[in-house]
Amino acid sequence: MEISLTVNGTEHTTDVPDNSLLVEIIRERLNLTGTHVGCDTSQCGACTIHMNGRSVKSCTVLAGQADGADITTIEGIGTVDALHPMQEAFRENHALQCGFCTPGMIMSAIDLVEKGKPLDERSVREGLEGNLCRCTGYHNIVKAVLDAQDKM
């Protein structure tokens, strides 16, 4: 099937197998490999992106469902020279180690702040429940999100 979608501001029209997942299109067709695959049961959140302004796990979305959608991935929120405040906060607070969960974590955290202000420690922890991190023990991630919300 042919689908059109806007990814990080650029429109793409592509022919995809009916059963392909959005994450496969993002990683393999568009070569945006910042969106990661960490599980096969939609539990880990490493593939989190924004679809029409809301965070979704891109492994739970069929490519066909994203036809016409506006997609933002980690590559689309900031650059090394002009970081998004959430990216900046992750670096400043040492909220990442191996970096594998980080793109999904940042995308979830941005959505959480955008819809959930004001957040406190508890609500950040609950809001990030769908994203697994094995390195940080979440301590600095929570700190980073609270830090970023003041700057967003």
């Binding site: 096969d40 991935t73 990442l96 600095n140």
Partner: protein, 782 residues
């Protein structure tokens, strides 16, 4: 300049720029032109004889390029996956290592063991092809239960009683005598639950082969690419070391599970040679659950003998350790040299005796997982000590203080083969007690009780042996490799520096920490130092990253190489300044002649080394690049005090960690921010073991916690905020004075949580993980 980015500064990490922008390069992000995809066909049976495998329908499918079985690999001379550490039994006999073909040939021995591999043009075609492979199995009842595995139906022909070895350490007679004359004996039966590592990046491999040169390149998710190359070359016979380049690019966490050489990368690189095409494989998470090496899984009977005043006089430990179905790369060393040797803990216990039987079961192989043996040892010692304090009516802090090895006792030789170089255990305990507010605990407990909650506090004063390892000691104890580390400090013409290390960073932040060391020592900007790791084509050699060794061993090698650079630079500078080496000082990047105003900068010296106009060519070679190998004299001994406070809801059995303090002595610290992060992560894994995580096989041998729906990973709302702090006694035998910090969190915390929980409930033991149901049953007296 160096004060903000040098040794001791919390410099923000160099590696973060790529990770926060999605620009990291993990193995699955790497694609090669014309690449094929591999899918493994895995056993659904815990134990079965393979009567036949039929790959013909798979081969007939569109897009399928090849389908291989274990027999194909064997026929091509591909060897077994080895275990790199020979442990000897009490009677002096060698451990028994059963054959471990990368792809099963005649039997399968755990659910998830691969018995065929299908390679196809697309991932989907490879999956369809794998589905089309049929096999005729003769199922055999599996050996699953660790307690009865020894003496159960024999799994491997070569291994009677399923026993790999029966090892001992310490003085049995002296220990028995101590028990015979002791006033009190505290005994515990302890189960250390099986864990599944779950680095967030699943394992992956991309294998490539160039027929014209015979060169192989393997991208793989490895903590130690040089070791992977050695094993694949020397043991598995894929190719000569010189023809095989192993690259571990960005790796998304390891925690031990990516130390080992597994079936999949072995088969992938071999098949890449057969087909002369690049081949990619990436594990699904369910494959990670089944086929990554698991951790822990001990059953232990432990006894502590004390005098009436609380002085420890003897410790006796008997452990059965699960090896799983085959010996993974370092499996044999974990419950022996990384466990039995740590049973002295922080205490002057004069007599210790430990026996460990390692047995095979029809489960996934078990090997090192964060801490590897040391968390198990700490759990035994610290649960015993806390229980003894309760039985004798002593304060848990007091009984520890009474038995601590004192600062003046160092170097201290333990009864279990280690010599601790330095430490001040009471300093950490004292600080931890202050930070948690131990003196006010009774008030907090009373206020919890007023709210219908049960509150408890628990201590854990752990020790670990890190910085693996003095090569000669390790080799004399059975290690198959040296455990030194290499480094190269390559100064460019313009004075920028590349640092090559054999350690590998998969979250630890070496690119930052190592750059801090070099920039500090050379007095050049932090930004001008790049750290290169994870590529056998770019760094000489190395043993990789595990056992909290990178800074201690790898960092020391870097210091050594940097010192060589400085020594040569000093000679060049002396020539340029028309002085002598002895009269040239080096400080903050500038060489100056003593008591004069003549000076020259490090970049100027570097330039002169490569453009040797004014240069002592008769004495010195041009260029400025130095290598060093560093072999440690001893292990390092990080130690600390963790105190946990829990609140239990008696209605539901839910345990909440309301306070957690970790005070650790890691010796000198290069980057405090990174060190605190390492502790946080370790604590989450240790707390996860205590309260959440459990790898369970059902009685038939099926893994029933094989997804994130059933294996409880710690999530953000399961974890508390941590209070972490440090004390410092510098390591006495490495140039950085550092001890290593990577595993401490996972080593100390588990016992602290369970000591707090048993204190809250007023019971002797609760099995881990202490899920709400388990706790509720413990309260009901079940």
């Amino acid at each position: 300049m160096t004060s903000e980015t040098g040794i001791g500064a919390s410099v923000k990490r160099k590696e973060d720029a790529r990770f926060i922008t999605g620009a990291g390069h993990y193995t699955d992000d790497i694609n090669q032109p014309g690449q094929l995809y591999a899918v493994f066909v895995r056993s659904m049976y815990p134990r079965a004889e393979i009567r036949s495998i039929d790959v013909s329908s798979a081969l007939a499918m569109e897009g399928v390029m090849a389908a291989y079985t274990g027999a194909d690999l064997a026929a091509d001379g591909i060897g077994d996956l080895p275990c790199g550490w020979m442990v000897k039994s009490k009677d002096g006999s060698d451990m028994i290592q059963p054959p471990h073909p990368p792809v099963a040939v005649s039997v399968v021995n755990y659910v998830g063991e691969p018995y065929a591999m299908v390679v196809a043009e697309t991932l989907q075609a490879a999956r369809d092809g794998a589905e089309a492979v049929t096999a005729d199995f003769n199922e055999i009842p599996a050996v699953v239960d660790l307690a009865s595995a020894h003496g159960a139906d024999q799994i491997h022909e070569a291994v009677p009683g399923n026993q790999c070895y029966d090892w001992e350490l310490g003085d049995r007679e002296a220990t028995d005598a101590a028990f015979a004359s002791a006033d009190h004996v505290t005994s515990l039966d302890i189960v250390n639950n099986r864990l599944i590592p779950n680095a967030m990046e699943p394992r992956a491999a991309v294998g490539m082969y160039e027929a014209a040169t015979g060169n192989y390149t393997l991208y793989t998710t490895s903590q130690n690419p040089h070791l992977a190359r050695l094993v694949l070359a020397a043991f598995v016979n894929v190719a000569a070391e010189s023809k095989l380049r192993v690259i571990a690019p960005d790796v998304g966490g390891g925690f031990g599970s990516k130390i080992f050489v597994y079936a999949e990368e072995t088969a992938v690189i071999w098949a890449a040679g057969k087909l002369a095409r690049a081949i990619k494989w990436r594990a699904d998470r369910s494959e990670s659950f089944l086929a990554d090496a698991h951790g822990r899984d001990h059953r232990t009977r432990a006894e502590l003998a004390l005098n009436a005043d609380g002085t420890f006089v003897g410790l006796r430990v008997k452990t059965v350790a699960n090896m799983g179905a085959y010996l993974s790369l370092f499996a044999s060393s974990v419950p022996t040299y990384l466990y039995g040797t740590l049973l002295a803990g922080q205490y002057r216990t004069p007599a210790i005796y430990v026996e460990v039987q390692s047995v095979f079961t029809n489960t996934a192989p078990v090997d090192a997982y964060r801490g590897a043996g040391r968390p198990e040892a700490t759990y035994v010692v610290e649960r015993l000590v806390e229980t003894a304090a309760r039985e004798l009516g002593k304060d848990p802090a007091d009984i520890r203080r009474l038995n601590f090895i004192q600062p003046e006792d160092f170097p201290y030789e333990t009864p279990v083969a280690l010599t601790y170089d330095t430490g001040d255990y009471d300093a950490s305990l004292k600080k931890a007690i202050e930070l948690i507010g131990y003196d006010d605990f009774a008030e907090r407990k009373a206020s919890s009780e007023a709210n219908g909650k049960k509150r408890g506090i628990g201590f854990s004063c752990y020790i670990e042996a890190c910085g693996l390892a003095p090569s000669q000691v390790a080799i004399s104890l059975g290690a198959g490799v040296g455990l030194f580390e290499s480094a190269e400090v390559r100064v460019d013409v313009t004075g920028s520096v590349s640092v090559m290390t054999g350690c590998h960073s998969h979250g630890q932040g070496h690119e930052t920490t190592f750059a801090q060391i070099v920039s500090d020592k050379l007095g050049i900007p932090f930004e001008n130092v790049d750290v290169v790791h994870g590529d056998t084509g770019r760094s000489d050699y190395g043993l990789g990253t595990y056992g909290s060794r990178s800074l201690v061993v790898g960092g020391s090698a870097i210091v050594k190489a940097t010192d060589k650079v400085i020594a040569k630079s000093r000679k060049i500078a002396a020539h340029m300044l028309e002085s002598t080496e002895e009269n040239v000082d080096f400080e903050e990047g500038t060489f100056s002649v003593t008591d004069s105003n003549q000076s020259i900068t490090f970049p100027e010296v570097a330039f002169s080394a490569y453009v040797p106009g004014n240069y002592p060519l008769d004495e010195l070679e041009p260029g400025l690049s130095e290598k060093a190998f560093y072999d440690p004299e001893n292990f390092t001994y990080p130690a600390g005090a963790h105190i946990c406070e829990v609140e239990v809801d008696p209605e539901t059995g839910k345990v909440e960690i309301v306070n957690f303090v970790a005070v650790d002595d890691f010796g000198e610290i290069i980057n405090p921010m990174i060190v605190a992060g390492q502790v946080h992560g370790g604590l989450a894994q240790g707390i996860g073991q205590a309260l959440l995580e459990h790898g369970i096989y059902d009685e038939s041998g099926q893994l029933v916690t094989g997804s994130y729906m059933d294996y409880t990973m710690p999530r953000a709302d399961d974890m508390p905020n941590f209070v972490v702090d440090t004390t410092v006694t510098p390591c006495t035998h490495n140039p950085l004075g550092a001890k290593g910090c990577g595993e401490a969190g996972a080593i100390g915390s588990t016992a602290a949580v369970m000591n707090a929980l048993t204190d809250a409930l007023g019971v002797v033991d609760v099995p881990m993980p202490a899920t709400p149901e388990t706790v509720w049953r413990a309260m009901e007296g079940e």
